[in-house]
């Protein structure tokens, strides 16, 4: 892999897992990921990622009980997650058309959760520490571009009253090289 700088842009579909799945189960088709990397050696790239994923789900009419209080109605749940991470990738088959890679990211996950219940709305917006291991591959398209397919496991860690918000992301996009 030629040394230099490259940018990535990826569209992402994500599936909630763990305790996040207790809140929303619906798969999200709303996400993207942008990154910039430098290539210090043939097999290694390091840089940063900015990503967003929007989740939502309609919960059918149900009754929720809190102590002596009970509330019934239809809920709409929305959760936007913004990811800011430092990233490192290790590429196999460097210099070939098809280059598998493994990656690891670490950074911050900003959660913006809104739950609407009738005309009422509850908002939460915690920050969580995040790890983002992943695997994928790139495929040569031209001298300055490659197709990239990947899977990331975004792992959020509990903060305040909110459990870690984790999801699996499946992404497709492009690598654009500057040199």
């Amino acid at each position: 892999m030629a040394q230099g700088t490259f940018f990535t842009m990826r569209y992402q579909v994500a599936v909630p897992v763990g305790s996040f799945r207790d809140y929303i189960q619906q798969t999200s088709g709303r996400g993207f990921n942008m990154g910039i990397r430098t290539v210090p050696s043939d097999n290694v790239a390091v840089g940063v990622d900015l990503a967003w994923q929007g989740f939502q789900e309609r919960k059918d009419f149900d009754t929720y009980t809190f102590g002596t209080a009970s509330v019934s109605g239809v809920q709409f749940r929305y959760q936007n997650t913004f990811q800011f991470s430092g990233q490192a990738e290790y590429f196999l088959n460097s210099g070939e058309d098809l280059m598998p890679y493994v990656s690891m990211g670490a950074g911050a996950l900003r959660v913006r959760r809104t739950t609407t219940f009738g005309l009422f709305e509850v908002n939460e917006a915690p920050w969580q520490f995040m790890l983002k291991p992943g695997i994928g591959c790139t495929y040569y398209l031209s001298r300055n571009s490659e197709l990239v397919l990947g899977m990331d496991y975004v792992v959020g860690f509990r903060s305040g009253d909110m459990e870690g918000q984790s999801f699996l992301g499946f992404n497709i996009g492009f690598v654009f090289r500057t040199s």
Partner: protein, 211 residues
């Protein structure tokens, strides 16, 4: 190729951006109930309910009677409350002075309402109980209710047998139905029925045993 694929991915991203939101007005309806956990509902048998639903108003001048909810809706609310209570073993009485429980149904369309509104809204209708009273909520606390273009129905079930020295009448059960005053008349009436019924469904402690 290099231009086509990014265009396809942008289209895919945009296609997933539609935000899911309430489509039907009944998706905005909400039924809230709460009760005093220390109160023995099973020891009660009779209830009194007024023949009108009071329309809650801010800053009602002293001595002035509050407006009543349009009987088209008010009568339906009262009928539904009565039928639910009767089905659950309660007996209506026309003398509030001898009733085990008294229901105070009110409704409003204001922006923000504290559920513990002034007793004076009712003082006119219960001469035997005088004025200057308030509500007590033993063991629980009702919320502040925010309404928009829709309205809210409040029902307080109070226990006059235990009015305390400060003149507070303990409220043992509350029902709040929010979001029901929009739509056609038939739609509003149907949703009133459904939400009031739901209030009793989620309050099984109101069902009296046979003995």
């Amino acid at each position: 190729m290099n231009k086509l694929i990014p265009a396809i991915s942008v289209c895919a991203l945009l296609s997933g951006c539609t935000k899911e939101a309430p489509v039907f007005i009944d998706e905005l309806d909400l039924t809230y109930t709460n009760f005093s956990p220390s109160f023995d509902f099973q020891a009660q048998r009779t209830y009194y309910i007024p023949d009108s639903v009071v329309f809650l108003q801010d800053d009602l001048p002293p001595g002035q009677l509050p407006d009543m909810v349009n009987p088209l809706y008010g009568d339906r609310i009262l009928q539904r409350l009565r039928s639910n209570l009767n089905q659950r073993g309660w007996t209506q009485t026309t003398n509030y002075l001898v009733a085990d429980m008294v229901l105070f149904p009110t409704a409003n369309k204001t922006v923000v309402t504290n559920y513990w509104y002034n007793w004076g809204m009712w003082g006119w209708g219960f001469p035997g109980w005088g004025g200057g009273w308030g509500w007590g909520y033993p063991g629980f606390w009702p919320p502040t209710v925010t309404t928009h273009r829709t309205g809210t129905l409040f029902v307080q079930m109070a226990y006059p047998g235990d009015i305390d020295q400060n003149g507070y009448m303990p409220v043992m059960w509350t029902l709040i139905v929010d979001g029901m005053l929009e739509g056609s008349t038939a739609s509003v009436l149907g949703r009133l029925d459904a939400t009031i019924d739901q209030g009793f469904t989620q309050s099984p402690y109101l069902t009296l045993s046979a003995n």
